[in-house]
Amino acid sequence: MGIKKKIKGYESCSGCGVCLLVCPLWRSTGSMAYTRKGRAKAMQGGVAPEDIASSIDACFMCGSCEPACPEGIDIVGMNLEQRRRLNESRSSYPAWYPKNEIHTSSRNSKLPQTNTILMAGRNLDGDIKIVENIVSLLGGDKSIAISDDDGRDIAAAVEAGLPVPPERIALFISLLRNAKNLIVSEGILHRQLREWLPAKKVMGIGEALLNIQSIRKALGPDDIFIVESRGYHSDFERLVKFYDRLRKDTGCLMNLDLQRIAIPTGASSLRGAHNRKTAGCSEHSAWILKGRKFKRIVVEDLSDIEVFQEITDVPVVHLSMIVK
């Protein structure tokens, strides 16, 4: 067993507030209590997770605050841990908590031996046209396999701070071992998969598609491309450079704001998926678009399409659909 990296927790928080700069909840509530700083300071002040349950539940787990933190605190890990501790102390959960049980068997009966596996997840689920299009863009059935077991139950449990049995994780990753690249639409699974399968290249749908020249060429200065925030922040330093090159090559706008943080709409969070209105998704999306001039919105995360359609008349399309 390797030496475990020392992870800094809430006790290391200096209270600098740099995480506020990028937090969508700080922007929308203006309440310190709903921020990572607020939770850390309250915990340092001796409160228990159940005393700050509304703040812990409100967090989108977008991960925007983590790259910003000068103390190098594992903020996403800390957020998840707080949810886990909160769950231990309560018997009823918010309405948006996942209802489905963790799967006990894998839905993958026969996964073809390919270099790349696509895990469509909740977000792409139900839009078979888009999934087929992605597969064909990425080289067709011979190059890429779609995993029926896309780990969506694990993603939901991780986000909600609910336990995932080790057997389930073992089952999930056992079928992925032969592939080199994992294309994963559930951003929250990226960091977990890197931990479980460190030799694999884990990427989001956006990065995978944007490596294709025809797609890059189809983006231009009239587009605003909406990067999925969780996967992006989990591999921030590398992806900052990747998207900088994209901006240079295509001139497109992006939801990468101050410090190249990807502003989330919140739509793909469990809270947002349950009720976009109470999660404030329109407000966050409106902020992404404010003051920017574009003729088309291109999204990486399918769940962002409807949110933008609600607030604007310009066409909103998934990245995979911008080329024929």
Partner: protein, 517 residues
């Protein structure tokens, strides 16, 4: 006045002011939590006026300390106002029920000024809306609880920027206007409070007033740089400018005085858009200059660069190598400087802050770097501000105190352009004898990984502050628990004058108690 020599860690009998303000010790201790006679009645009264007082520990514990991390206290309740009217109701009730009200923006005070030791903590961060951006008049009207970074983001979408703000952008606009607000461009653009064109203020007795240089000018001049004594700023109209990315250059010095002379030369001549000194101990002294435009940079390089006595990185590296090779017993210090140099400067050039070789997110760069390299759960940053002629001596003397107390520390020096001889500068961080440009220096020990006692830190601060008394200077952060110095620095007459104004404005003395009065 003769200041006696003291040993580190020892708090000597007060050489400054046994009579400064009665009962205020020079030693930093938390004031006792105030007991409020009719707290329930007060809360009920406010509730009947639709002002919610939050009494849960989860609400108040967020505010248990400030950026200094040395003062700890909890309010009885927190109010998050929705409007100036809410604050008016609160202050009227506070006068009647004699409940202290501590106003908090970003909580970036270092001496406990924004920590409530009982009473109400007024959390201004709920008033965070930008109300109007006028790109013709080049002004922004904003609620004053907004943090500078929020304002910067909103202005940026319009291609605009604020003029100058504190390096740490998690400060609120209202809090900053109350204490000054110094940026690296302050030698050119002045402090943040001098950008204010108009304010909405709730007075300590609850009147909602508008003020500017022409409307209620006395209130305007009292509230700006007023350390929260004369009202709560709820809205501000500030000057703005067009946004531009910046380029930064560094010049390295081995002598503090030489670097200061060059800084003053550049500041006086308005040679760069940004200029300041940042040191690693007193060995690696960096003069930072930055430019908003290529033209300004070219002009600087032609006219001023040849006059600077600082070295380039390579030349300075050689100089340092020679110095430490001759002093091998100082190897630890040399290694510290090298490691600090190689971690700090790349931080200013991180890919996520840059675009096409220019810094586009200076707001974040500075906030993040300030905390990463100088921040921590405790911060001790005594400072001195002086007129140009006294500045180099003040810094050298403060540096000697730092050397005496700490292995590792940093100094940060910057100029502040004054806007004439304004009443707001009286009894403020602006030294009384300064004209045109005042200069400030922060003396910051690196506290990480070492536990110092509070007494030790206090002795250090006292020694720095004593320099101010001795040389007739002022302090940027003179509120909070070091207010005992105010009488010695400014004299009885001036302090009595301000105390009388405070008593007239705030009969029950409830607004921001213990900060100055």
């Amino acid at each position: 006045m003769q200041i006696p020599v003291i040993e580190p860690g020892c708090i000597p009998p007060d050489p400054v002011s046994p009579d400064s303000l009665k009962g205020i010790p020079r030693q930093q201790t938390n004031p006792a939590r105030r007991s409020i006679e009719n707290w329930k009645g007060f809360v009920e009264h406010l509730r009947s006026q639709s002002v919610l007082v939050r009494e849960e520990k989860s609400e108040s514990s967020v505010f248990v300390t400030d950026a200094g991390g040395l003062a700890f206290g909890l309010p009885h309740g927190v109010v998050r106002p929705n409007s100036a009217e809410d604050i008016s109701k609160l202050l009227k009730a506070a006068q009647r029920f004699r409940v202290p009200v501590t106003v908090r923006g970003g909580g970036l005070t270092t001496e406990g000024e924004s920590v409530a030791f009982g009473g109400i903590l007024l959390d201004m961060s709920s008033l965070n809306k930008v109300l109007e951006i006028d790109t013709k008049a080049m002004t922004v009207r904003t609620q004053a609880g907004i943090f500078w970074h929020q304002l910067a983001e909103i202005l940026r979408r319009e291609g605009m920027d604020y003029l100058s703000a504190p390096l740490n952008l998690t400060a609120s606009v209202g809090g900053t206007l109350g204490v000054g607000g110094i940026d690296v461009n302050s030698p050119r653009l002045g402090c943040s409070c001098d950008q204010a064109i108009e304010l909405q203020v709730v007075t300590p007795t609850g009147d909602i007033m508008h003020c500017s240089e022409t409307e209620n000018p006395e209130l305007f001049e009292r509230v700006l740089l007023g350390y929260g004594q004369f009202g709560v700023i709820t809205e501000a109209v500030l000057k703005i400018r067009k946004f531009s990315p910046l380029t930064m250059q560094y010049y390295y010095y081995a002598s503090l005085t030489t670097a200061i002379e060059d800084l003053q030369m550049l500041s006086k001549a308005d040679a760069a858009d940004y200029a300041g000194i940042l040191t690693i101990l007193d060995r690696a002294i960096t003069l930072l200059v930055a430019f908003d435009s290529d033209e300004r940079q070219k002009d600087f390089e032609k006219k001023w660069k040849p006059k600077l006595r600082g070295h380039g990185e390579f030349g300075f590296g050689l100089l340092m190598a020679k110095y430490y090779l001759l002093r091998p017993w100082k190897i630890e210090e040399a290694l510290y400087i090298v490691s600090r140099r190689f971690t700090l400067f790349p931080e200013f050039n991180r890919a996520e802050f840059m675009r096409d070789g220019k810094i586009i997110d200076r707001t974040v760069v500075f906030s993040r770097a300030v905390w990463k390299f100088w921040g921590g759960r405790q911060m001790v940053i005594p400072d001195l501000s002086a007129k140009a002629e006294k500045f180099a001596e003040a810094v050298e003397r403060g540096n000697a105190v730092c050397r005496k107390y700490f292995k590792y520390y940093t100094l940060y020096c910057v100029g502040i352009k004054l806007k004439g001889n304004l009443p707001r500068y009286e009894m403020s961080c602006i030294p009384p004898d300064a004209s045109d440009i005042a200069y400030g220096c922060e003396f910051e020990p690196m506290l990480r990984d070492t536990d110092y006692s509070r007494d030790y830190l206090q002795s250090f601060k006292n020694e720095i502050y004593d320099i101010g008394v001795d040389m007739g200077l002022s302090y940027y952060r003179f509120g909070g628990m070091m207010k005992g110095y105010i009488r010695s620095v400014f004299g009885d007459e001036l302090v009595e004058k301000h105390l009388a104004m405070k008593k007239a404005a705030d009969p029950a003395m409830i607004l921001n108690p213990d900060v100055i009065f």
